[in-house]
Symmetry: C3
Subunit: 138 residues, 3 copies
């Protein structure tokens, strides 16, 4: 069985994180899949999907470490294409990942207590994001 739905998200700034866990769980419930997998994918190449303990400290730490290791700069080759100062956004998003697949057990995404699904805005301006959630199983 396959069920697909989308989550719409408005983001405000570079480094902003959203907790998607309950919205993903709601799509799994709609699908009535008890055992299987759920794929969560950001449409576009400057946003990321992943898992983290969603608490205020890590909501600063994750964007900070990304900006430290892959810093904002006008010297990326990408700057030649668009001149919009978001070369680091692309590299951060690609390296962290734009897509995630999780197991479904007993009708819910199988996550630890302190493990949530997040969206991270890597771009440098507010965006409207579409996240595709695909449930497969039985």
């Amino acid at each position: 069985m396959v069920h697909q739905s989308t989550i719409e998200l408005k983001t405000n700034h570079h480094g902003q994180m959203h907790d998607l866990t309950e919205r993903v769980a709601a799509v799994v419930r709609e699908a009535s899949v008890v055992t299987g997998t759920v794929n969560i994918s950001n449409v576009g190449s400057t946003g990321s999907i992943g898992c983290i303990e969603f608490e205020p400290g890590l909501m600063e730490d994750l964007p900070n470490i990304l900006d430290k290791l892959i810093p904002p700069s006008r010297s990326y080759g990408h700057e030649q294409a668009w001149h919009d100062g978001n070369g680091h956004s692309h590299l951060q998003s690609t390296w962290l990942g734009q897509s995630l697949t999780l197991p479904i057990t007993a009708g819910r995404p199988n996550l630890g207590t302190w493990q949530q699904v997040f969206h991270l805005e890597c771009d440098v301006k507010p965006r409207t994001r579409t996240i595709v959630v695909t449930v497969m199983g039985e």
Copy 2:
């Protein structure tokens, strides 16, 4: 067809790696799936799943490069939540990934000769880990 099983793992220290390849292959065999996919996911946000050539050199190199780029430190914002010195564990695990999906071909995970499935303990103390293995296909 969907088949789901778990692998239990006891880990001893930060940076310890386990080769899960044969245990994942055994779950695929149990499922009698010839063609499809297998998802391998760590429950919890301070352990990682990935693929690597599982040999003693890389078993040191991978935790070393993670500790170099995302170093242990008491200065992470996460420290404010729990004061347990594992902010870097969360960031390493999130960036490397907690979940992996591989193709199944001819009844086995389709991997290269020097490509194995690993679990990496990113936390700073021994943990008992549950890894969920979900096989789908026909």
Copy 3:
């Protein structure tokens, strides 16, 4: 429904990127799957699969940032195993990821306009690569 096929690729050098988007879309069309997922996996542990805006700037930026943060060196433990100078290739490929799963919507991989599927050669010599594409859905 499950459909699996392979893409063969000849690579020439470390850091070379190929755009796989159209070849992946062709496998999805062959499968006649309208809604579902497609998994794209590199066989072998020194090549990566991911998503990026495939344009000349980022084709330099991505290998550059990987070489900056995980630099070529003879000092990796992996060098003891094979003495072939590709320790960084393994670490780059493992950290960036060797496998990707994307949603299928309306018979096509659901990607943004500036979001393409790439293969990155992380090894230090030309390789012949096999990429396994697995389509599931209905």
